[in-house]
Symmetry: C2
Subunit: 554 residues, 2 copies
Amino acid sequence: MTESRLIYLPLGGAGEIGMNAYVYGVGPEDDERLILVDLGVTFPDMETTPGVDLILPDIDWLAARADRLEAIFITHAHEDHVGAVAHLWSRLKAPVYARAFTAHLARMKMEEAGLDQEVVKTVSAWPETVEAGPFRVGFAPVSHSIPESAGLVIDTPHGRVVHTGDFKLDLTPGVGEPFDEAMWAEIARDGVQALICDSTNVFSEHPGRSESELGPRIEELVAGAPGLVAATTFASNIARLKTLAEAGQRAGRSVVLLGRAMRRMVTAAQDTGIVTDFPKVVPAEEAADIPRQNLMLLTSGSQGERRAATAQLSRGKYLGFELKEGDLFLFSSKTIPGNETSVLRIVNAFSAMGVDVVDDSSGAYHVSGHANRPDLARVHRLLTPKMLIPMHGEHRHLRAHVKLGDEAGIPGAVAPNGTMLDLTGAAPRVVEHIEAGRTYLDGAMQIGAFDGIVRDRIRMALNGHAMVTLILEEDELLGDPWCEIMGLPEKTRNGAPLVDALEAYLSDFLYRADRKTLRDDGKLDDAMRRIVRKAAFDEIGKKPEVTVVISRLT
Amino acid sequence: MTESRLIYLPLGGAGEIGMNAYVYGVGPEDDERLILVDLGVTFPDMETTPGVDLILPDIDWLAARADRLEAIFITHAHEDHVGAVAHLWSRLKAPVYARAFTAHLARMKMEEAGLDQEVVKTVSAWPETVEAGPFRVGFAPVSHSIPESAGLVIDTPHGRVVHTGDFKLDLTPGVGEPFDEAMWAEIARDGVQALICDSTNVFSEHPGRSESELGPRIEELVAGAPGLVAATTFASNIARLKTLAEAGQRAGRSVVLLGRAMRRMVTAAQDTGIVTDFPKVVPAEEAADIPRQNLMLLTSGSQGERRAATAQLSRGKYLGFELKEGDLFLFSSKTIPGNETSVLRIVNAFSAMGVDVVDDSSGAYHVSGHANRPDLARVHRLLTPKMLIPMHGEHRHLRAHVKLGDEAGIPGAVAPNGTMLDLTGAAPRVVEHIEAGRTYLDGAMQIGAFDGIVRDRIRMALNGHAMVTLILEEDELLGDPWCEIMGLPEKTRNGAPLVDALEAYLSDFLYRADRKTLRDDGKLDDAMRRIVRKAAFDEIGKKPEVTVVISRLT
């Protein structure tokens, strides 16, 4: 038996922003006891994953070793950290630990999936710890853009690991605990073997700003608005929602929460005692008679999600509300790359209604929830870890973060998903590469990224689809071949129906085909597919996907 | 007959960035003589226009009045101003006027489309003018991000109109004419009836910066790079390409142009005498033996286009070149909204190769080609037009630009595509709304945006496609119904093949169906479609698109 070692293996979140899932192990090679930190999702897009509902980490490696998995720890309740728990738990079957607010939301997910809520255990903040095999894990409060975020203090026989989760250094975060430098200094006092650290904002050069900066500015904006005011932010950003609602309240406006996600988050925060002084909220049904200059709507869908309240309002009346000339809409949020066109569509629709739109470009109405470059450097100095492993970031973020550590003399490694590191020594060492990828939640099914299903959807979207039906009795044609098209022009460049043109080419081929060909489904299929693609290219300049159905009557 | 009037009608470019096409008319109502300014394209995306090659303005209104069209004027050679000329010219058949560089590229497009190049006429810069019916039009040089951009001075019986085209105020543009305040003051001396003005940068609060600022910074960056240097920008930005090439040359590097678009643009600039001192360029084939620290590659594809040189290099070897650790890649460009994910994919691929990527975020390596807010205000003051019509911008840009004009006491109008304005009086007046939309170039065909073709592609991409074949003789089934699927999971949640499950549901229905139903194709089709959608939803949680083929043997 080999010596015990401490390993780190990201299955998601390293080499991307989203879908966090990090494995730690302690024990002899290939026999480590394991824990998992976070189990999040990422979101599909039309370009690469049309029709997919959610993207989950591929946990095949871990599921095959589920008997060695001691526990799952969730740092905070953002979807990219907790969103896959209910979808993948049945393959892992380990207890799930989190702080109260996160645990509350994780239980709701388990319940909705028909799973046992009891597997989710609530843990108090550091210095409370949970023992999980050779690990002892504590949830040290950090500030972020959702309540009760935690950095994990992971004690192992090979030393202490700090896994930051998502965090920022905020002394006045509004809701939740401020950055506690003394606590972290104390945690690091006896040495940190490895710091596994959030990287998303490593390219932001200035120190991060506090949530508390926004209050006065938002108040001023709302106080000066003549008409209805609506504002959006992430539904889970309770501190921001409170800031916005207070601004409304102080301007004498009734606050309405529009959007299920938003109401659910505020309720969860109240139920778990995170906020006890959230301004009074008026149900949408009761707001009909309130004059528009006395209203403040908080709407879900800051990323332009089509079915959320913000997008609905941009398309017209929603739950009795309708924006118009003189109203104000505030995006108290940043637009995540990839969502720009959806958000701009909404901004332009509001513009066409005469609504004044204010966004985060001035910096006055939004602050990030992540530590910027100087903040990261400060944390490196504070914890003085023996080694630094950047996580949660695209490759460019991980690489820049390693360089930042290098400047402070801390050895590091760029470890994208699937890279297993040995953290036992003086510096990280790559010991193995695991197949780590993505699984798609597609309707009720989980499908593999390489199953070809999504590839076929993309091909149909790009090329259209032609279907050919042929009926044979022995080697005799019964009638003519029949074409149907979907996603293709009806007419050819000569103005003739495309299906007629394709059928003519096919008939021409079939009437010349010899008996051997007519008896061979494979050959017929191949030939007819080729003919349709070539004919369509000649007639309309496109090569469609082709499905051939050969029916043989017997 | 009614009195003569001066009208303005945007068919593209107003309410969007891209696809510029603006009609002006002079004459009695419904009998105006017309000119068209610009005829550009915009680019498709997977989200809204999968499979489409290019998006063209819908010119039905103008084509129906082609006998009244005197001429087409092209302000500059960007694709969103000239790109649709060859695709739509046959429906308009009017002479096309442009300055030499633009005309050169327009002729190449006409030639490639098998059209007569002779219809494209070269015009010298202002004060030369072209007479076109009641219009007299001159090309007044403006600075932009492509050579020989022009603002049009359009004299009519109802006064002078200035149509800026895309422009910035650059006193040292590197290639082409600097901003000539005296010339514009002279043009405006006797009064400007209407200013039709570029709006894309109205939200940029600071005065625009000059192209000449970049040279020293790029030189410094290139001089300090230890390995190979590659840089990308828009292929048509000849000034930038020259700045980049000169930086390479001064650092003792051989300059290689990678990408057809880039070579074509540089050649066009040389052929038309725009640049006579472009640094010497080495063909890719002859660069094999040059040490990498002596190379400077200029690559096409700054927007992440999959098949362009930049993307090819990010995927590995391209034309003998391969980037590696210690090399530098410069994006001397901004990323257009919607292209972020494609560009970031490339940045991360370079990061994984160990290449240092530098982008425009510092402001040191890119300047915009459009006039910013203070520049627009300056032009308003300089030309003191009677009225201001913002063009080339999304709705939010047009609206903000009208407000900016208001502040200077100039009446304006937000006129999105299809809004016909009468410019004859003291202020713009909306007189009509025209059906203005988009046409898709799809392979060899032009299809309408509302033909349902693209909608069907999107549906197949989101929902997958199931095909059902059924053979009947009179009202007797011949064999069982047959299912094929594309873009759907092979197995159901019970692990059974999906097609088997669907066929079982269909058979069940068919064996119970009465003769009347079996004789009615419409009823059968409807019922089977409904059954497949419901069954698939039960089995895999998705409702696919369904095509039913019923064959009746007679």
